[in-house]
């Protein structure tokens, strides 16, 4: 390896060092690409500029899934001339058994650099560092082992799920299953982007939203429930016995956003009508409280980050849908199809669906897709008389 004095400074300190990892891999495998990439990265640290440019590499029949990177200074670092990334869709919930994962590593070491990002912010396995002429072969081998490329460009993107019903007592629907079904359903749009812009799904089992769905996805599928919170009164009393009533008041009751929890004779009472399913009391009293029995999902739409219009959070569109049977999942996917059709018509180039809804109007969107109006869609009725009603 060549000298990388600046990068080397990232080898000290207690947090695991990606630099050490790369260097060890380079030492062991002697892959020139790794040396070149370390050299170019060191040069970036020295000059405070980046040196990759994009391009277009795909696999047979696909229009997306490979993020292409050519060095802008390949005369200087010929070993880093190409450094493409393959986005791979992991299992929903990012679950692995070691057999799958070792196999993946072996294939990747055979064709690529051996650098893996676990995981990209949109939920992909990112196999980072492959040359164009290895891509198809690498893909074929991965695909034979059950892996497929993830999304990129103006199409459906890879989804993210929390662990959900796999481990979490709060999960209100089978998000892993819905994730699998939804992304399979939209495989053509993942692989052959043809919309205005990207579209992301994230599946959180409950309103804690451990996948950041509302903030970071166009289609945020959030588990929720329609009936009362399930209270195990013995466990409530046990909680109070252990932690005291002050803790109950300060840390649970006072934090309820709608003051729905009443202290009553050494126990609590929750006014279901006032509860907004924020999860806090359930989080704080995991043994005593659980989401109700009538569970399903809420759909929020339009989350995206800063670009152009400023960060936009998802807005509540469908307050509740059952999500238990295959029929439920099909009905959901039909709704999503209709939503996408509307966006395809109404949207502009490089306009996320949340931007389209904001520009065209929430009411117009609901009308366009045929979704019922619900007071839960807004935080307050309008404060201006600027509308023309159809009377």
């Amino acid at each position: 390896l060549n000298e990388t004095p600046m990068l080397d400074q990232l080898e000290s300190g207690p947090w695991p060092s990606f630099v050490s990892g790369f260097k060890e891999l380079a030492e062991r495998t002697k892959k020139p690409m790794l040396r070149g990439v370390l050299d170019q990265l060191e040069y970036s640290y020295q000059t405070k500029m980046g040196y990759w440019k994009g391009g277009l590499v795909t696999v047979d029949g696909y229009g997306a899934g490979i993020i292409t990177r050519y060095s802008m200074i390949k005369d200087k670092y010929p070993e880093a001339a190409e450094f493409h990334t393959m986005r791979i869709q992991p299992a929903p919930g990012l679950h692995y058994n070691t057999a799958m994962l070792r196999e993946l590593c072996d294939t990747w070491e055979k064709y690529g650099s051996g650098i893996i990002t676990l995981h990209g912010q949109t939920g992909d396995i990112m196999l980072q560092g492959i040359e164009q002429d290895k891509v198809q072969e690498c893909f074929d081998e991965l695909n034979q082992n059950g892996w497929d490329l993830g999304g990129a460009g103006a199409g459906m993107r890879t989804g993210v799920s929390c662990i959900g019903q796999g481990r979490c007592e709060n999960a209100c629907y089978d998000n892993l299953k819905l994730h699998l079904d939804a992304l399979k359903h939209f495989s053509p749009q993942v692989h052959r982007p043809e919309w205005n812009y990207k579209l992301k799904f994230k599946f959180s089992g409950c309103p804690n939203d451990c996948t950041n769905a509302i903030m970071r996805s166009d289609l945020a599928v959030i588990g929720t429930w329609r009936d009362a919170i399930d209270i195990d009164h013995d466990e409530v009393k046990a909680w109070i016995a252990e932690r005291g009533v002050d803790a109950l008041v300060n840390n649970v009751i006072n934090h309820c956003p709608t003051k729905a929890i009443m202290l009553k004779d050494g126990d609590i009472d929750i006014s279901t009508r006032d509860c907004v399913r924020c999860m806090h009391c359930i989080n704080a009293m995991s043994k005593a409280l659980s989401p109700g029995k009538e569970r399903g999902i809420a759909l929020l739409m339009g989350g995206k980050n800063t670009l152009k219009v400023g960060v936009n959070m998802g807005s509540l569109i469908v307050p509740f849908m059952k999500m238990e049977s295959d029929e439920d999942r099909e009905a959901f996917l039909e709704l999503i199809e209709e939503i996408i059709d509307w966006w395809d018509d109404a949207g502009l180039d490089h306009e996320r669906i949340g931007e389209t809804i904001e520009r065209v109007g929430l009411k117009q969107f609901l009308d366009g897709v045929g979704i019922e109006y619900d007071i839960n869609q807004i935080s307050r009725p309008r404060d201006n008389p600027y509308f023309k009603a159809k009377y």
Partner: protein, 359 residues
């Protein structure tokens, strides 16, 4: 390799299936979990209605991993968790085992391999981050290096659970912010309009696309040396960098003028308060590789003030909502300035339209 030689016909299979990746105890109790506890930092215990319990050991990773590191993690999983492992949405690795006695030896081995065990409960978990100079085509800084520098300084907070509530960090290497909204986010902020590389422009850009990308209509068609090109109305330009994504010849990145800004109070969950976007609290910090001390120092100040002042369960934004922005700036020693006054589309909704005043 041309497509003719292929013998394999693509299966558009989508996400990998998950059934075979779930631990048998997970499969058995799928959807029937009852409650959880956090016995100690880095360890979760989930109990199912059946009475089964599963322990999770969570550890930090570099996220920019290698096949070698991943194989090490597989070794751990084979040894202690029946060959199953998973990753969290924040790039921590998790090993789920029904055998409580495996927890301590697993922790010891992970630590000895350099994977810090922690990241649970009221801690500072790992950073949501991005590609930076390692891979992206538009970054003004590196991501993994900033993350490593930050996590080194908050290492103990990752391994402990001493914060008022969870702290989520993110970093991003351009203002697009692929890292996301977070309790504390460290994001590149350009401070100069793009310089136009007229030679490249015509070759690499669709002119109308670049014009359309600008949120403030600061880009106009022009003619340079007899060739169609673009110009930027610098008085209008807000240095957002959107044009650079559409057209690499709109050179927004600059070794000195691309700076860092620090943002606080992003919250993605619905617990207690509604999700909230983050607010700008420091900017014009230098892009100072390889260790970015100025940036980590600001993050440290915020964490210190929050740790001292937050009440149990208050996230950073909720803590600030209670004490007010004036006290936030006082207690962190950061400086409020005029650039923090919103000037964008919904600016009016951030004005203090009341006589509620803190002196």
């Amino acid at each position: 390799m041309s497509s003719q030689e292929r013998t394999w016909k693509t299966i558009e299979s989508g996400p990998h299936t998950y059934e075979e990746a779930l631990h048998p105890v997970v499969r058995k109790n799928y959807g029937k979990w009852k409650y959880h506890e956090i016995p100690k930092p880095g360890v979760l215990k989930h109990v199912a209605e059946s009475g089964d319990a599963i322990w999770t050991v969570r550890a930090g990773t570099p996220r920019q991993d290698t096949v070698d590191k991943v194989r090490l993690l597989c070794d751990i999983a084979d040894k202690y968790s029946d060959g199953y492992l998973r990753f969290t949405v924040r790039n921590n690795v998790e090993f789920l085992t029904p055998n409580g006695e495996n927890v301590e030896p697993m922790i010891a081995e992970l630590e000895s391999l350099g994977f810090p065990v922690g990241g649970t409960g009221m801690c500072v978990s790992a950073v949501s981050h991005t590609q930076g100079w390692l891979h992206c085509d538009i970054p003004a800084t590196d991501a993994s290096g900033v993350v490593k520098s930050m996590m080194d300084t908050v290492y103990n907070e990752f391994k402990d659970m001493q914060m008022p509530n969870k702290v989520r960090l993110s970093t991003s290497c351009c203002s697009i912010n692929c890292g996301g909204q977070a309790d504390i986010a460290v994001v590149v902020k350009h401070t100069r309009p793009p310089r136009i590389n007229h030679d490249h422009l015509v070759k690499t850009c669709e002119l109308p696309k670049a014009v359309a990308r600008c949120p403030v209509a600061a880009i106009r068609p022009t003619v340079v040396d007899g060739k169609k090109s673009l110009m930027v109305d610098e008085a209008k330009c807000i240095c957002c960098g959107a044009c650079f994504g559409a057209c690499p010849a709109m050179e927004i990145n600059h070794p000195e003028h691309s700076k860092f800004a620090v943002w606080v109070g992003g919250k993605n969950s619905n617990a207690r308060s509604k999700p909230s976007t983050m607010s700008l609290v420091a900017h014009n910090l230098p892009n100072n590789p390889p260790r970015w001390p100025e940036v980590t120092e600001v993050v440290g100040r915020i964490l210190t003030a929050y740790k001292a002042g937050g009440r149990p369960w208050e996230r950073i934004g909720e803590w600030i909502n209670r004490i007010g922005w004036k006290r936030f700036f006082e207690e962190t020693g950061l400086q409020f300035d005029d650039n923090m006054i919103d000037s964008y589309r919904h600016a009016r909704t951030t004005f203090n339209q009341s006589a509620h005043i803190r002196f």
